[in-house]
Symmetry: C2
Subunit: 200 residues, 2 copies
DNA sequence: GTAACAATTCAATAGGTGTTGAATTCTACA
DNA sequence: TGTAGAATTCAACACCTATTGAATTGTTAC
């Protein structure tokens, strides 16, 4: 039914494809996402997806990115009252994950990073270049990279447990209690001692 | 070359298939693992894999399990000096992950849980039934399930960051420093206060 | 020793995948 | 107005997948 050739008017299909791809990668991960499904959701022929983005992998790499800009958001969190940094960070992370779009991108990254070597490499790159730098800048600490790693473990673990696997009661816990539960962890990873136990 | 029909002698191929499957699921995850590859590694025809295990999914479910028995290992960790419980737990987790087999199973579970709904459900089940019970028993605390969830986030995050994505410097950090870094987190998740920040 | 059964392979099936090349229609610019 | 190029579809290709059914060979119990 759909006629061949270019459609009338200015085209927004390229963005439609990107959106559909983001959504599908986020929900299903890399492998389970098919170019055909993306094309379908964008109301377009599969060949057009390839025509625009070259390949499935390039599409993935073009489309997936952190749903926030670390260099903009982290300085404000890290500056100021050092005792509250863990809570501010936790609040930001949990708050961001409340947004459906951001959550979808994050779950997509985690899902993909756990199966696609290319995606894992990209994630490593992304983290090193953008997050580490911001954290090292914002904090005055020496071992900023390890600290950023540790923070990352807790963030990724939270995403996986609360949203991907959806284990209870954590999945249904209200945001404030989640923040309260993990804030001290971020606090110690960011500015606390790394080799001695803290007070329980 | 390989002749048809049953081979001479007692057969150990069923276990060979299980081993190959465990290895491949651990290394590549569910989707990327093919029955053909498993069969190949086990020196066997793909049809035999299906004949023994019914389907790829049933094979996965038969073969994947925690690489330790929570009900045997957790009581010893949770009993005794309450101040050392975080460190004992961290030492156990990190130590277990040093073993190549156990690590492969764990990465497989994490990888699969992040893409396979069925695997995620199984993981939920496994965690609820076996780990929660052991933790609730071993600890005298009330909100044992949430505590177990939080512990889970840190374990899973560690597995993903250190072994799957292999982000540096965490991936190359020696076991003792990893233990020291995350022990206080487990300590608070297991027996510490969950709503107020700890001392940094 | 023979009958049931278990282990094993072979060949095929039905369906999915990413990707390509050519054909068509529209837009933008000269 | 004409023409280069962009957007779009169609049909096909080459490949890979899990799974099935029948055929063959060995083992085990009577």
């Amino acid at each position: 039914m759909t006629t061949r050739g270019r459609r009338a008017g200015t085209s927004r299909t390229r963005e439609a494809i990107a959106e559909a791809a983001r959504r599908s990668f986020g929900e299903l991960g890399y492998e389970r996402t098919t170019i055909r499904a993306i094309a379908n959701e964008a109301g377009v022929d599969p060949a057009l997806v390839i025509h625009f983005y070259g390949s499935k992998q390039q599409l993935f790499l073009s489309v997936i990115d952190l749903p926030f800009a670390p260099e903009e958001v982290l300085p404000a969190i890290l500056a100021g009252d050092r005792n509250g940094v863990g809570e501010r960070f936790a609040r930001f992370v949990v708050g961001m994950l409340e947004d459906e779009n951001a959550r979808s991108v994050m779950t997509g990254m985690v899902r993909a990073a756990s199966t696609e070597a290319e995606a894992a490499a990209m994630l490593r790159e992304l983290i090193s270049r953008r997050v580490f730098a911001a954290i090292a800048d914002g904090l005055g600490v020496d071992d900023a990279n390890l600290r950023a790693n540790l923070v990352g473990t807790q963030v990724v673990g939270l995403v996986l447990a609360r949203y991907v696997v959806a284990v209870e009661p954590l999945a249904s816990l209200d945001a404030d209690r989640v923040v309260a539960s993990i804030a001290p962890t971020f606090q110690r990873y960011l500015v606390g001692p790394l080799t001695e136990p803290d007070q329980a």
